[in-house]
């Protein structure tokens, strides 16, 4: 069984390596929604569903996952372990087979996010060097057949890295260094009085391109979205006073410094100092954001920063762009599709199972 899986995938990997017109992923007309999810008893799953509600797979995994990283060409995805997990899972997205439980080294743990390089051979993840708690590490893994092999690591040039994404071109990374030190097996924040959040641009060989900070030292830069033109938006989680007015969204337009996104006061306050997932719709130039503590989902015009939607959605979690607009999952209620093509944004509940969806989703 194992051997057959191995052979099957090596074949695919080989074909992908050769490229040349192979259409390896055929999910039909419906995109596949990938996410971490729990059941009511607290068991953790790596799941894939079509947007029409049909289940592709739900594979039980030992640890709760966070983000999902689909392979650029193969029917594979890494479900990345949520901090302080030392496991991530390589899954066949056609049937949910668990191909590999990827372990971090003993003195590293995952932070829940990763990326595949566009050539499909390299996987990078943000990790914690627990010998120097919080020191940000970029783990470098090579895909060989059905397995990811850790081959090297670089610095993320900051503390407590969280999400990372590719800049257009797919060779430079943007990293949200959350700035918070935590130890192995712990989510306890050790340095609230000395946080160092930063937004870093770096090459995948580890070279630092730029490092920028927001003025508020307790404003943890956590999640990211990158537009096709290189605009980067970051979502923050503020660890200071609930009444402090701080930029919970920030933006770095091409060639410009990292700065607060012009956010309405009502929206900022509704977020309760906490943003979760971001997504950019490139064709419509829209920015979507979930704020689960405020139970609200927002959409802005990426260019004018005009607010287009401020809607209630209990415990909203992941957001992803689809042709029509945005798909949003929820930890508590039904998942929604926000159709943004018309003059008015229209909401439609999706026929997906309700609740228990974790913070991020990917559409493959």
């Amino acid at each position: 069984m194992k051997r057959r899986a191995f052979l099957g995938l090596s074949g695919l990997a080989l074909a992908a390596g050769a490229f040349g017109g192979w259409k390896l992923i055929d999910h039909g007309p419906q995109p596949l929604l990938l996410s971490a999810r729990d059941d009511a008893d607290g068991h953790h799953y790596a799941v894939g569903y079509r947007l029409d509600g049909s289940k592709a797979f739900a594979t039980r995994v030992a640890e709760r996952c966070h983000d999902v990283v689909p392979h650029p060409t193969l029917p594979l995805a890494v479900f990345v372990g949520r901090r302080p997990s030392r496991e991530s899972y390589l899954v066949d997205t056609r049937d949910g087979r668990l191909l590999q439980t990827l372990a971090s080294p003993a003195d590293r743990h995952f932070y829940g996010h990763g990326v595949f390089h566009q050539d499909g051979e390299w996987f990078y993840s943000t990790e914690n060097d627990t010998r120097d708690a919080g020191r940000g590490v970029l783990g470098v893994y090579r895909l060989q057949g059905e397995r990811l092999q850790r081959v090297a690591e670089n610095s993320t040039h900051g503390i407590g890295p969280h999400q990372l994404l590719w800049m257009p071109g797919g060779e430079e990374l943007v990293v949200a260094n959350g700035g918070i030190r935590t130890e192995a097996d712990s989510r306890v924040m050790m340095n609230l009085d000395a946080m160092e959040p930063s937004l870093v641009l770096m090459r995948r060989d580890g070279t630092l391109i730029s490092k920028e900070q927001l003025p508020q030292q307790m404003n943890s830069v956590r999640h990211l979205a990158v537009a096709a033109d290189g605009t980067v938006v970051s979502g923050q989680q503020y660890e200071g006073d609930p009444q402090d007015a701080v930029p919970l969204l920030a933006i770095k337009r091409p060639g410009q410094p990292f700065q607060p996104f012009p956010l309405g006061e009502a929206q900022r306050m509704a977020m309760h100092q906490y943003t979760a997932s971001l997504a950019i719709h490139d064709e419509l130039r829209l920015l979507g954001l979930t704020a689960p503590r405020g139970n609200r989902f927002f959409i802005w015009d990426l260019d004018s920063a005009a607010l287009l939607l401020d809607a209630p959605l209990p415990d909203c979690a992941g957001v992803g762009a689809v042709a029509d607009g945005f798909v949003v999952t929820s930890g508590q209620g039904r998942c929604r599709l926000y159709d943004c093509r018309g003059e008015k944004i229209a909401v439609r509940p999706l026929e997906l199972p309700a609740g228990l969806w974790d913070n991020h989703l990917r559409l493959a």
Binding site: D38, A40, H66, R82, R83, G112, H162, R222, Q237, G264, A266, Q267, M269, A270, Y274, A276, P292, R293, N295, R296, A306, L307, L308, L309, D310, A311, P312, P314, D315, C316, A317, G331, Q332, G333, R334, R336, D339, E343, K344, I345, A346, V347, R348, P349, E351, A354, G355, L356, W357, D358, N359
Partner: protein, 353 residues
């Protein structure tokens, strides 16, 4: 300027609308009509009376005792809304405009005094533009009850009265705005009765939100009592961290919130959250009933004001026993009840990353 209301329409969806027999829809609708809407109406009425009282007191036609009573009545109706904070009141920073808690640094005193220093001729507009700290009941309480303010002194009274009446007016407007959103066509009451709507995709989402609001509120009561008991400060009692400590209304406020939480559980006509439990779950229902009763009765035996209870060991032991009972209500509702009803309480919000 924010475009409001933002355009959001509901697409006709392939979902069958709930039938009236659907128990979740029945419960949500019954609670909307029988518990939530009446509580929001009561709050609006007491806020109107607060505004009238502030004017009468400042015009010299009402004495301080009557003005203080109008305040305490409004505090009680506000406290009753704590477990019912869904929809408009939970949004747009509105709750902060009614009560500022916790106030660890005595911001209320500082900001009231600073505002009056800066604006001796204070207008309604000044208060509408000001921080939430000076817009609500906590600032109102400071004026009416603080030991450092003597309202029998005409100079002091004329100094504080513009703010007092402006807060009364602000509370009246705010409560009218919120009640308006409850009563509007397609407003909050309607959204708890007919599904799907732009807020809830189906009735279980509404019931889940009601339970979540209730459980969060009970957790909030624990936090308020726990802060005063010094549970976050090495057991050192912190009487000035209690809510409404100046007016000695902390325990009365707690009692009003707890009674309201119990109403949500029972419903006005035995049609509350409890009615969703089937025969096999009656044992749990009985335990929750019992725990509400024990907690309510124990609170009733606390005869002295919170500040006094905190000052001696017997009082602190009584408060700790009450806290433990409150904690059991919280665990029964947020743990066992939520699980039995299949309701997720803040999967991401409480445990995000």
């Amino acid at each position: 300027m924010i475009r409001s209301p933002l355009a959001l329409v509901l697409l006709a969806m392939g979902l069958a609308a709930c039938t009236p027999q659907d128990p979740q829809q029945r419960t949500s609708a019954a609670l909307a009509d029988g518990v939530l809407l009446p509580a929001y109406k009561a709050w609006h009425e007491s806020s109107q009376q607060l505004a009238e009282s502030s004017k009468a007191f400042c015009a010299g036609s009402q004495d301080l005792g009557a003005a203080q009573q109008a305040f305490l009545t409004d505090v009680a109706s506000w406290a009753a809304l704590q477990p019912l904070q869904v929809g408009p009141l939970a949004e747009g920073n509105r709750a902060w405009q009614v009560q500022f808690w916790p106030d660890k640094k005595n911001l209320v005193q500082r900001q009231v005094e600073n505002l009056l220093k800066k604006k001796p001729q204070l207008s309604q507009a000044d208060v509408e533009k000001a921080s939430v700290v000076v817009q609500g009941l906590t600032a109102y309480e400071y004026i009416l009850f603080d030991a450092g303010i003597d309202l029998s002194d005409a100079t002091q009274k004329s100094r504080y009265c513009p703010l007092l009446t402006a807060i009364g007016e602000h509370q009246q407007r705010l409560s009218a705005e919120v009640l308006g959103q409850w009563q509007a066509e397609d407003g909050m009451t309607a959204q708890l009765k007919e599904f799907p709507n732009t807020r809830y995709a189906e009735a279980p989402e509404a019931v889940a939100e009601l339970l979540r609001a209730q459980v969060n509120a009970i957790d909030g009561l624990k936090k308020k009592l726990g802060a005063a008991l010094g549970r976050q400060s090495k057991g050192q009692p912190q009487p000035y961290q209690a809510e409404f400590w100046r007016s000695n209304a902390s325990l009365a406020s707690l009692a009003a919130s707890l009674a309201s939480a119990e109403r949500l559980w029972l419903g006005a006509n035995e049609d509350g959250v409890r009615s969703l439990l089937n025969d096999g779950q009656k044992e749990l229902a009985g335990r929750i009933d019992q725990q509400y009763a024990v907690t309510r009765q124990q609170l009733a035996t606390l005869q002295r004001p919170l500040g006094e209870l905190l000052a001696d060991e017997t009082g602190r032991a009584e408060l700790t026993a009450f806290y433990d009972n409150l904690n059991l209500v919280h665990r029964l509702q947020g743990g066992e009840l939520a699980k039995v009803l299949g309701i997720q309480l803040g999967f991401n919000a409480h445990d995000g990353d």
